[in-house]
């Protein structure tokens, strides 16, 4: 317990930045993932091709590589400079959006064809069919996989510690230089992650699953 009280400032800053990374990247990943999922089911071949290319190119590329590009490679291109925090947010969002897209697309596939046929029959254009009819139904069925994606994102934020963002993943290095024993320090960091996942993410998932449950 001493470790956490003696270094409370470090833990607070660390987890505050982890929270910022998670919430902002999660927000952008959800938006971008939904848009790309829409592109991949759209009637326009160019949109489908672009969405498919993005997902297949980025998905499962090591996250370290993506963050290294934005933190170390991008500044050399001579473009406007971004802070390391923003670079990490961009990298995490682009990476996570591919998984969000695929989860939502699998949800779209569970919505029976009759739904979109009926929407078209009453004259709704594609965008409205998607946003008013298909996506609301699709989201319900993808709550569990989406939460897996977001829990993965929460833990993935620690990779940013290697690219100049002082977040939870960097706490260990700080503690070690301050001469604190490493194992208790690491255990505290792990414990806080477990508490966040079990205490916030899991109940939220259960709540949404219940709220949006459909009788089949």
């Amino acid at each position: 317990m001493n470790i956490i009280t003696d270094n409370s400032e470090l833990f607070l800053t660390g987890f505050k930045n982890t929270g910022i990374l998670f919430i902002i990247s999660g927000f952008f990943a959800l938006i971008l993932g939904t848009i790309v999922a829409g592109m991949r089911v759209s009637p326009a071949p160019a949109m489908r091709a672009a969405g498919t290319f993005y997902v297949n190119a980025v998905r499962n590329t090591p996250l370290t590589l993506i963050l290294a590009f934005f933190a170390l490679g991008y500044p050399r291109l001579g473009l406007p400079s971004v802070s390391f925090m923003n670079a990490a947010i961009v990298g995490l969002s682009l990476y996570t959006a591919t998984y969000v897209c695929e989860a939502i697309r699998s949800g779209i596939n569970t919505v029976s064809v009759g739904q979109s046929e009926a929407a078209r029959a009453i004259g709704l254009p594609f965008m409205k069919t998607l946003s008013l009819v298909v996506l609301p139904q699709a989201f319900r069925s993808v709550v569990p996989p989406l939460f897996s994606v977001f829990i993965a994102l929460l833990k993935n934020t620690t990779v940013a510690a290697g690219f100049s963002v002082l977040e939870a993943g960097a706490i260990r290095a700080y503690l070690s230089e301050r001469g604190e024993p490493m194992l208790p320090g690491l255990l505290w960091v792990a414990l806080i992650f477990v508490v966040v996942v079990l205490g916030i993410m899991t109940p939220l998932q259960r709540y949404l699953e219940k709220k949006w449950r459909v009788a089949r």
Partner: protein, 280 residues
């Protein structure tokens, strides 16, 4: 590499200087009792020493030749020789800063010689022989940089060091106007400095001098050290017999120390006195 120095240290960058195969005389029948670490070394006939491998001039591994070089490596080789272990029986292990205490406590390495600063908190986890070198936090900038002359000029500048390292914690606490940038290893910081995405690299001046000497056309060290770091030889906690032995070796070996310094860090011509050991 430089070859312009005198003939005292042999001038060669590899171990051609002191007759090649035996730079340090390997001690026989070492009288050291009551040291569990030494007993282990003696029974296996080999020693495992934790080092750094990305710090030119101190502890550096040439990826092309597999050759290790630097002041710390030489100190380690010297200590091993005094413990009766020849150079070819030394197993060097690269251990990053954050894992040093664990590696010593778990017995992954017998000694650690790699820019390891002696601090009171670390003394609770490991023991230190030495110090064998004293340096302090310095600044490395691009050669063309005229705005940063000392630590007083850091306001509004991006200053890079290793994640969580003592120098970056110092920057965060005492230089709030500077922007800290952290990468896991120093070479990434130096890379960022060369590409212009950071304004200065900060860590122990000895390490910075090594980087500057690798690329003197583009990099320079500015100012005077503004902290005090004492490098010690890390060893497992409680092994007082070994610590005393190493301290005596350092104290008695002033001539050897000077020779090692002149052939590594002192190549640029700087003269430094060996610090007095602290047998706490």
């Amino acid at each position: 590499m430089t070859g312009c120095g005198g003939d005292t240290a042999g001038g060669g960058s590899s171990d051609g200087g002191n007759g090649g195969d035996a730079p340090f005389e390997v001690a026989k029948d070492v009288a050291l009792t009551g040291s569990p670490t030494f007993d282990k070394i003696k029974s296996s006939g080999a020693i495992r020493i934790g080092v750094k491998e990305d710090q030119p001039g101190l502890g550096y591994l040439d990826a092309a030749t597999g050759e290790r070089s630097g002041f710390d490596i030489e100190i380690a080789t010297w200590m091993a020789a005094k413990l009766g272990v020849a150079k070819d029986k030394i197993e060097f292990k690269a251990i990053p800063s954050a894992n040093r205490e664990t590696a010593l406590a778990n017995g992954d390495v017998d000694l650690y010689v790699g820019t390891y600063s002696i601090t009171d908190k670390r003394k609770k986890l490991v023991d230190f022989a030495g110090p064998y070198f004293i340096t302090g936090q310095g600044l490395l900038v691009q050669k063309s940089n005229e705005t940063i002359k000392s630590e007083k000029d850091l306001a509004g500048k991006k200053v890079c060091s290793a994640t969580g390292s003592t120098p970056i914690q110092n920057i965060r606490e005492n230089f709030p106007k500077a922007t800290p940038v952290e990468f896991d290893i120093y070479s990434k910081c130096v890379d960022a400095l060369k590409s212009g995405s950071v304004d200065a690299v900060t860590t122990d001046q000895a390490i910075l001098l090594g980087f500057a000497s690798q690329d003197p056309d583009n990099l320079k060290v500015v100012g005077e050290p503004f902290t005090v770091e004492k490098y010690g030889i890390g060893l497992p906690k409680g092994d007082t017999a070994l610590r005393t032995f190493l301290n005596e070796t350092l104290t008695d070996g002033n001539a050897t120390w000077t020779k090692i310094y002149d052939s590594t860090l002192g190549k640029s011509g700087t003269k430094v006195e060996q610090p007095k050991v602290d047998q706490y």
